[in-house]
């Protein structure tokens, strides 16, 4: 078979790889789909296809993708399924396939990769349980019927596919970092660790992608503060009150390294995406040994950059928190109040207002805002924190 392939394609490496890949595909498919009527012909056809795919890939790839190509197609054949071809990474790319609707991708990834229950997913995305359940069932049926492939996309498809995956992985991380269930731990390390692990895998596949590096940095700098974020009594500890000595120095260092790498790229003219900017904001926070050393004007400047890229009300809300430090709580409150129409159902909107009103000495209004935030918050540690803050009002 290798000889025939070599004759056809005039390249021994391609022939050997194609043959090995065809056998690997057979090992994967035959137990599930049954052995084809003519196994020899099936293998030859498959190997031919693999070889054509590879030649096409090699013709199209540019220098930028060379390294990623090395990871996907290790130079030592036969190794069609390397360590990088992690089972879960394949599952992620399948769950995040563009032929599925975005909500479906998120729900499916959280269910299949993150292991969340349907009620947890429904809660995370303010959807009905029955809707989420149906969405997942339909998606599984489509994957099977339309044969959405269970594999990491080819190199030329990776950049387009990866941004969808990052969005989903980031949602998984956030669900872990601020778990929404009343009966779950406030911080679910299993989910944050899983999201970081997946992002590391994607980074190994696409070492030159700035947003992958940005998202990894963002997660590392957030994860570094995890243990300082919930007190012994199970209450959320906000950034300004955290014991900075308890931060994970190794994670902070790794995150800062990645941010510096992206800053260098930005200086060379590569415009940073939203994850890189968010990582930079976190790097400003984690660079301050004391909250009073925080370079807030830098934080505001980064949020300004982010708003231009993504003018969402949640970004505007976070920007207002930084503005409170540079321009005072009154200016910040005016900015927050403008978001009421879109964010009235979001607990963080009310929590932010409550804090600003408290600092402005408006106890009555602050209390009402805390009540609303407590009512909407799903995270147990956050509820405990908000309740204490409310009860401390004069």
């Amino acid at each position: 078979m290798v000889a025939a392939l070599t004759r056809r394609f005039g390249d021994l490496d391609i022939a050997e790889d194609a043959a090995a890949e065809a056998f690997a595909t057979a090992v994967e498919r035959w137990p599930a789909d049954g052995v084809p009527p003519n196994p020899g012909a099936w293998l030859t056809t498959t190997a031919n296809r693999k070889a054509i795919d590879r030649i096409r890939r090699e013709n199209q790839r540019d220098g930028k993708h060379k390294e990623a190509q090395m990871v996907v197609d290790p130079p030592d054949p036969p190794a069609p399924i390397g360590a990088i071809d992690d089972e879960r990474l394949r599952l992620v790319f399948t769950c995040c396939h563009p032929a599925l609707a975005m909500e479906t991708r998120v729900a499916l990834t959280l269910r299949m990769v993150g292991g969340l229950s349907v009620p947890e997913i429904a809660r995370a995305f303010l959807a009905q349980e029955s809707t989420v359940g149906r969405r997942i069932t339909r998606a599984k049926a489509k994957i099977k019927a339309a044969r959405i492939p269970y594999r990491v996309p080819s190199v030329e498809d990776l950049p387009a596919r990866v941004s969808g995956v990052l969005a989903v992985v980031y949602l998984v991380f956030n669900e872990g970092y601020l778990a929404t269930g009343p009966d779950t731990d406030p911080v679910r390390h299993d989910l944050t660790a899983e999201a970081i692990r997946l992002t590391r895998l994607i980074r190994a596949l696409m070492p030159e992608d700035g947003e992958v590096a940005g998202l990894l940095a963002l997660m590392l700098l957030t994860e570094a503060r995890r243990t300082a974020r919930v007190s012994a009594s199970g209450e959320l500890v906000t950034l300004d009150e955290q014991d900075r000595g308890a931060w994970d120095a190794a994670l902070v260092a790794e995150g800062h390294r990645l941010v510096r790498e992206r800053l260098a790229a930005a200086a060379a003219g590569v415009a940073p995406g939203r994850y890189q900017i968010l990582a930079a904001i976190n790097a400003v926070h984690t660079s301050a040994h004391d909250v009073r050393d925080t370079d807030w004007s830098q934080v505001v400047a980064l949020y300004d950059q982010l708003v231009r890229l993504d003018p969402s009300p949640i970004i505007a809300l976070n920007r207002a928190v930084a503005v409170a430090e540079t321009d005072g709580p009154e200016v910040a409150l005016a900015a927050v109040d403008r978001l009421e129409d879109t964010l009235a159902g979001y607990h963080a909107y009310h929590a932010t207002r409550a804090d600003l009103l408290r600092r402005l000495g408006c106890s009555q209004k602050s209390r009402a805002a805390y009540d609303k935030a407590i009512e909407l918050a799903g995270n147990t540690a956050e509820t405990a924190y908000l309740t204490r803050r409310r009860d401390q009002l004069g």
Partner: protein, 108 residues
């Protein structure tokens, strides 16, 4: 694995000579040369359709398409593809060639 690639049209016009040339090139250079070709065809306009219902005692003929809609099926490809990724890539090229929207559906 076979997929039906339906060409969805919302204009009255047939394919232009340029579009026909692009479709021919796609059929020959991509589908036939690489073993994806099964069958393809363009259809007459929906107004040329006749609906037949022979579930009762006698076949009932109705003039016109079974579904009146702004968008209609103008033609189709049946392609052979290893999986949906391959099918979608081919369908994207087909959409470009015929200059119309297409829908990809797997055969059972």
């Amino acid at each position: 694995m076979q997929y039906l690639v339906s060409v969805i049209d919302d204009t009255a016009g047939l394919a232009t000579p340029d579009e026909m040339a692009a479709i021919d090139a796609f059929n020959d250079d991509r589908l036939k040369a690489e073993g994806h070709w099964v069958f393809a065809g363009g259809l007459g306009s929906p107004s040329s359709a006749t609906v037949i219902d022979n579930r009762g005692g006698e076949a009932v003929l109705t003039d016109g398409p079974f579904l009146e809609s702004k968008e209609y099926l103008a033609g189709f490809w049946i392609i052979e593809a290893a999986d949906l990724d391959v099918a979608l890539k081919l369908a994207a090229e087909g959409s470009k060639a015929c200059n119309r929207k297409v829908e990809v559906r797997p055969f059972l």
